[in-house]
């Protein structure tokens, strides 16, 4: 092979070998927990891996160069993905069958964690209100967003301003806007309702979370509906107007069926995001709220949704394995509901 200079060959092989040696050295001292280079073990491994890839990249081959580039291009993202998603997922599912306490585990407990959560009224309550929240949100956010979209596609002045204004709350993180609304509910709304704060009662606090969520999310969903409505060809609407269809008939017989794919997307988005809702829940009520009698128990987590329940079980109460088991169930519910939802929507979509 005359295409490659001796220098490049030598450099490639040297960097491959040094890379492997450095990596093994770094890993070796890390396992042995001592020896020369121990404090720099991280640097040894990082430099070793980088040298290895450099050597691999310069490897004198034409035939396999494409394959080598493919591997190098895929590696960074796949490595990060495996370490942060795949490995923790597998470990997590495994931990949910043990008595893991976040640091070490003593033994397997079988299905004990799973059985226990179904006997815990506060958890069952969380499941119940999460489903309620998801259903309310899916309907209300989509309805509000769709009406806003109709408003923002009609002929009024300052459309650009209104769209931007309605979308604005979506830019703000859940924690910050949760506190802003906590202020509004406990200091501003009380000026009109007396001393009674909406956040102090479970039912109205639940309502408050829904209000805040619509405020945050409807503008975003509205944008998607606007895009959907704008894809309806103008001549179809013109034809319906010539045929004498009333605005209501146009809406229900033409506009809604024609944006069915958009409705699917929006329902899916609101569904999954409502399920995962955490930030607003934490900042607005922190899950507090009393329930006098649920399955014969007095509960103090009246507004605690599933995501927050998992967090407080593991992080606040230090029951890591138990929290992980709840999280696995959460994952299963979320996956099942999303698949079901996509199936139903797809079967209802009108092909046009």
């Amino acid at each position: 092979m005359s295409t490659f200079s001796t220098g490049r060959k030598a450099f490639s092989f040297a960097s491959l070998i040094i890379g492997v040696v450095l990596t093994i050295w770094g890993l070796g001292v890390a396992i042995a927990k001592g020896g020369p280079g121990y404090p720099q073990r991280g640097a040894l491994i990082v430099i070793g891996v980088l040298l290895f890839f450099l050597g691999l990249y310069l490897f004198p081959t034409l035939e396999h160069h494409r394959a080598i580039v493919n591997v190098i291009f895929l590696f960074p993202l796949l490595f990060a993905f495996a370490v942060t998603v795949i490995i923790p997922l597998v470990l997590g599912i495994g931990y949910s069958f043990t008595d893991w306490n976040g640091i070490k585990l003593k033994g397997f407990v079988g299905l004990a964690n799973y059985l226990r959560m179904f006997k815990q009224p506060s958890f069952l309550w969380s499941i119940l209100i999460t489903f309620l929240f998801v259903v309310f949100n899916m309907i209300l956010v989509n309805l509000v967003a769709f009406l806003l979209a109709l408003l923002c596609t009609s002929r009024i002045k300052g459309l650009g301003f209104f769209r931007a204004a309605y979308f604005l709350p979506n830019l703000i993180g859940g924690i910050v806007l949760g506190y802003i609304w906590q202020f509004i509910f406990s200091n501003v709304v009380t000026k009109f309702t007396g001393t009674y704060s909406m956040l102090s009662d479970t039912k109205t606090a639940f309502l408050a979370i829904i209000i805040v969520y619509i405020w945050q999310y409807a503008g975003y969903i509205m944008l998607i509906y606007i895009t959907g409505l704008n894809t309806i060809p103008g001549d179809v609407l013109e034809a319906s107007a010539i045929d004498g269809a009333s605005p209501m008939q146009t809406l229900f017989n033409i506009k809604i069926p024609m944006i069915a794919p958009t409705i699917t997307i929006c329902t899916f988005l609101t569904l999954t995001s409502a399920f995962k809702q955490f930030d607003v829940n934490l900042a607005l009520t922190n899950g507090t709220g009393s329930v006098p009698n649920f399955l014969g128990t007095y509960l103090t987590n009246g507004t605690e949704m599933l995501a927050l329940n998992i967090y407080s079980t593991a992080v606040i109460n230090n029951e890591y394995a138990f929290g992980e088991a709840k999280a696995v169930l959460f994952f299963i519910i979320l996956a099942a509901v999303s698949i079901l939802q996509v199936r139903i929507s797809n079967s209802k979509e009108v092909e046009l």
């Binding site: 997590g92 202020f183 997307i265």
Partner: protein
């Protein structure tokens, strides 16, 4: 389309739009005016202008900025650093991976692609607890702290943002004619030259989209940084700092709302500059995602 619409209808709709806009923007207005008051004035009249003064705003802001629980500039700097680093790496590595996955029709690339798509449904709650313990153990093992460190959290964002980034980029790369790459290859381009000199520049619009989507998510994210960085660590992002700060000033609304004001201003400024791109990017991400 509404050729013979009555003017009265248009006016009614305009009034409705204005009322909704007032409702939507009212919380922002409250944050601004109450950041200019003392706590006593806020509790006596939260919606009025009495007690509003520019001097009080400066006092509130400087109290918040210098507060040891909040340390605005530090939190802002860390948030910006973490977001920018994550976005650059996600765009670069995401594009590289998406290109390889898209242009190789082997069973491996299909498997990787579908793993990415399937992973998008995984809620963060199910991986966060083992993630923290894995990162802690790996950090101890190799001697590079992965928790309470910028490299650790950037690495985590690379892993969590990867799936959606690859998914959106993949859809775009499919539309780039393959003949372009064949021509480059005949002209003597190596695969990596083809990617960096021909494909990557073509990806600019879609990289803008994923950067906006990832940027909004990473900048506002609370749970991941709060788990990885902790409430009391040296490294804090803005949402974590706000949470830690509010936890220590329960009813001091002038401080809390000034902190909220500081936390939302960067996003609002960015929105005013790149309103069109942000709104388009959010729509595109949703429609493709």
């Amino acid at each position: 389309m509404h050729t013979k619409e009555k003017t009265s209808n248009v006016i009614v709709r305009f009034i409705i739009a204005v009322i909704i806009a007032i409702y939507v923007l009212f919380p922002f207005f409250l944050v601004v005016i109450n950041s200019c008051k003392e706590t006593a004035d806020i509790t006596s009249n939260p919606i009025g202008f009495n007690g509003v003064s520019f001097g009080q705003l400066i006092r509130n802001i400087s109290d918040v900025v210098n507060n040891t629980h909040f340390l605005f500039w530090q939190a802002f700097g860390y948030s910006a650093l973490i977001t920018i680093l994550s976005l650059i790496l996600l765009a670069l590595f995401g594009a590289m991976a998406a290109w390889v996955i898209c242009r190789n029709k082997t069973k491996w690339s299909t498997l990787i692609y579908f793993t990415f798509i399937a992973s998008m449904i995984i809620p963060f709650q199910v991986v966060m607890l083992p993630l923290i313990s894995t990162f802690r153990d790996v950090g101890k093992f190799i001697g590079i702290p992965m928790l309470q460190s910028v490299p650790g959290i950037v690495f985590a964002y690379l892993g969590f943002g990867g799936a959606m980034t690859v998914f959106i980029l993949n859809g775009f790369i499919k539309g780039i004619p393959f003949t372009l790459e064949e021509a480059a290859s005949i002209d003597g381009c190596t695969p990596e030259q083809t990617f960096f000199q021909i494909i990557f520049p073509l990806l600019t619009p879609v990289i803008t989209t994923v950067t906006i989507l990832n940027g909004m998510w990473i900048w506002n994210d609370y749970l991941l940084p709060s788990m990885m960085l902790g409430q009391n660590g040296a490294v804090k992002t803005l949402p974590v700092a706000v949470q830690a700060f509010v936890g220590s000033y329960v009813k001091q609304w002038n401080m809390i709302l000034s902190a909220a004001l500081l936390a939302i201003i960067p996003m609002i400024i960015l929105f005013l500059i790149a309103q069109r791109q942000i709104m388009d990017g959010m729509i595109e991400g949703a429609v493709k995602g």
